[in-house]
């Protein structure tokens, strides 16, 4: 795609000061402590596509979502929306209207005292988009229909809806300002699996119909595979792998990506003994030196402990970026030939 990406992120970082109060710190003789939630990541999202960020809790994926919509100012680096620095774009209502966010918890993200029609109409009012009560009402009815609810549902309150229906209301609200870009932070994690399928299908339909661009945050690799064009795998505030979705699933390169895929329980029931990745995610307050994954990595050597790997094109691959010395040096056994992923469910 030749046109400029809708969103570009360059060397983005966000640090949080988690020091104890000054007096306690002085008495204990300890310094300031910084949590590096996001530590220098770069990516771009072409128009009309979906980029997903996956990772385990504490990897910084939700912080990226918040940085991208401007809920946090970055500590370092920048976010460029439509070729304009985010801070400048956020100051212009017309630009602000074009990005919206869908949150994880549909029970916490809707005001319980407002009727659904008022919740959905708020962005329309705030941006002064549709003057006149009748036109506004018609727009709300259209939005509710678009997400699979009835226009009559506008009179109800959020508590009258199930989790999946509430998430539909959240989507209707996000769509009401005619955005181009939606940041979806774990939009289906609080939902049951049959309802999750409804919401994922709805989001895909809307993308196809309205040409939306998504930044999709999730911890669920199977969900991510269904919705993404490209996927970034995060670990301790950094991107360890960034590749087109199919490439990532057929030929995962980074040892962490491979370990994650290995760990997911599936329905294949091969009786195969899993080799779970040992250890746990280290604290982002004192991340390991060099590559953050090195204490758990089977391919670790001295260079990994000392030098932070850069996100570079993966060896022997047409597409995809990997931040791994072992991949760069060819110590990872090359491109995995036959991945377990790719077997079909019917092989019984």
């Amino acid at each position: 795609m030749a046109e400029t990406p809708i969103l570009e992120v360059e060397d983005l970082a966000r640090y949080f000061d988690v020091s104890r109060p000054w007096l306690q710190r002085v008495l204990a003789g300890e310094g300031k402590r910084t949590l590096r939630a996001v530590d220098g990541i770069s990516f771009a999202i072409p128009r009309g596509t979906t980029l997903s960020l996956v990772g385990e809790s504490g990897c910084g994926k939700s912080t990226v979502a918040r940085l991208v919509v401007g809920l946090y100012p970055p500590s370092k680096g920048r976010v460029v929306f439509e070729g304009m620095d985010l801070e400048r774009a956020r100051a212009i209502a017309e630009q602000r209207r074009r990005m919206q966010m869908i949150f994880q918890d549909p029970y916490a993200s809707l005001n319980p005292r407002w009727r659904v029609k008022d919740i959905v109409a708020e962005p329309i009012r705030a941006f002064g988009m549709t003057p006149g009560a009748a036109a506004q009402q018609a727009k709300v009815a259209e939005l509710l229909t678009q997400v699979g609810l009835s226009p009559l549902d506008g009179e109800k309150f959020p508590h009258e809806f199930s989790g999946g229906q509430r998430q539909r209301i959240s989507i209707a609200r996000a769509l009401s300002s005619n955005p181009d870009f939606l940041v979806c932070d774990e939009p289906t994690s609080a939902l049951d699996v049959s309802v999750q399928a409804q919401i994922l299908n709805l989001m895909k339909d809307l993308q196809a119909r309205l040409g939306l661009t998504y930044l999709f945050i999730s911890h669920n690799l199977a969900v991510v595979r269904q919705v993404s064009d490209r996927i970034g795998v995060m670990y301790l505030g950094r991107l360890v792998e960034l590749a087109p979705a199919e490439t990532l699933f057929t030929t995962p390169r980074h040892p962490y990506t491979r370990a994650l895929m290995e760990a997911i329980p599936d329905l294949e029931m091969t009786g195969r003994q899993r080799i779970p990745v040992g250890g746990e995610v280290p604290s982002p307050i004192s991340p390991p030196s060099g590559c953050p994954f090195h204490p758990r990595c089977p391919l670790v050597n001295d260079r990994c402990k000392a030098e932070r790997p850069a996100l570079i094109p993966a060896r022997a691959m047409k597409q995809g970026l990997t931040a791994c010395h072992a991949v760069e040096e060819g110590r990872d056994g090359g491109v995995p030939a036959a991945q377990r992923i790719g077997t079909t469910a019917t092989a019984l």
Binding site: V193, S194, Q198, A222, R225, Q226, F249, D266, V281
Partner: protein, 333 residues
């Protein structure tokens, strides 16, 4: 082999100001010695409620309003609190979702293990402590001899869940009720904990009732599975059959709606609508408003579990007396 646990026609009710809600309705199943039974369903299906009823920890005003629960052939659903307390821990161990609320933050993990071991096995302090360290080693806590004197907050989430598993197993119960034991954990830690639970259950011959909404966990761990919907069992059978060839339209829909990891599908199968609230469970089959196969009988008559080859499904499609006959197999995947 005689079952270790037998649940017969269990009914749990919640009296409320607006009337009595039936949370569990006619739930029957059994668990053989050494068997792992997976109980799956979506939120509100009653799977955790079933576990709570078995260990005698239903939250008031919930109460067992009918049916029986038998452990080793003896009824345990009508015991007094004190009698049940002796069974809990000794005969039935429990593992809950959130390890932080299961452990007492004011005692070291060693003290909690020793207390449990002494209460149930009557060992002296030194011997109990030795056992406690042994259990911590068994669940894979590094440097167990030192860590035994740590407090729960000094452990990470995955390690804490290992402590909870040690606590559930240390009195050597015959049955473990594990309610979403890996849901609060990250996927790489989840795999470690599942492998641990599975290994221990096998080595000790412990039976397990594994309650979870994650079909992947069930497929990897359970021998048999019961699919619950709106407080009833929709289908039960060997795990392979239920996952690969589900017969009940609800289990078929549930399996099909799980996003596959091994391929991208353009459109995920979905079950429209949502599970009914307890106050508005439809007449006849509780699944009838969402069922693609619904016919007249489903609207009026509640289905019972019917044999459908390898599994049993509570669905009128499989009753020869129904007007409409069952298709060869439910499409899925």
């Amino acid at each position: 082999m005689a079952p270790l646990l037998e649940v017969r026609d269990l009914r749990v009710e919640f009296p409320t100001r607006r009337g009595v809600l039936t949370a569990l309705d006619g739930v029957s199943f059994s668990i053989a010695p050494g068997e792992v039974l997976g109980v799956v369903g979506e939120s509100g299906a009653g799977k955790s409620m079933t576990g709570a009823a078995i260990i005698g920890l239903l939250e008031p005003p919930g109460r067992i309003a009918g049916g029986q629960i038998l452990l080793n052939g003896k009824r345990i659903d009508n015991l007094r609190y004190e009698q049940m307390r002796r069974i809990r821990g000794r005969e039935i161990g429990a593992i809950f979702q959130d390890p932080l609320t299961t452990l007492n933050p004011l005692y070291t993990v060693g003290e909690q293990l020793v207390e449990t071991i002494q209460t149930h096995l009557g060992l002296d302090g030194a011997e109990a402590r030795k056992r406690a360290i042994g259990w911590l080693e068994m669940v894979g806590i590094p440097a167990a001899a030192q860590r035994v004197d740590s407090y729960p907050h000094e452990f990470s989430g995955g390690m804490r869940q290992r402590v909870v598993i040690a606590l559930a197993l240390c009195a050597e119960p015959k049955l473990i009720v594990a309610d979403e034991p890996t849901t609060a954990l990250d996927v790489s830690i989840q795999a470690q904990v599942i492998a641990l639970l599975k290994g221990l259950a096998r080595d000790k011959g412990t039976s397990m009732m594994l309650v979870t909404h994650d079909m992947g966990v069930i497929a990897e761990t359970a021998d048999r599975v019961a699919v619950m919907y709106a407080g009833r069992i929709a289908e039960t059978g060997p795990v392979r059959e239920v996952v690969k060839h589900p017969k009940h339209p609800y289990s078929a829909g549930l399996m099909a709606s799980i996003p596959p990891l091994d391929r991208k599908v353009e459109h995920l199968a979905q079950i429209d609508g949502a599970m009914p609230r307890l106050s508005a469970i439809p007449r006849g089959c509780a699944f009838n408003p969402r069922c693609p196969e619904v016919f007249a009988r489903c609207l009026v008559e509640r289905p019972v579990l019917l044999a459908t080859g390898a599994t049993e499904a509570a669905c009128w499609l499989y009753d020869a007396a129904s007007e409409k006959h069952a298709p060869e197999a439910m499409p899925h995947g």
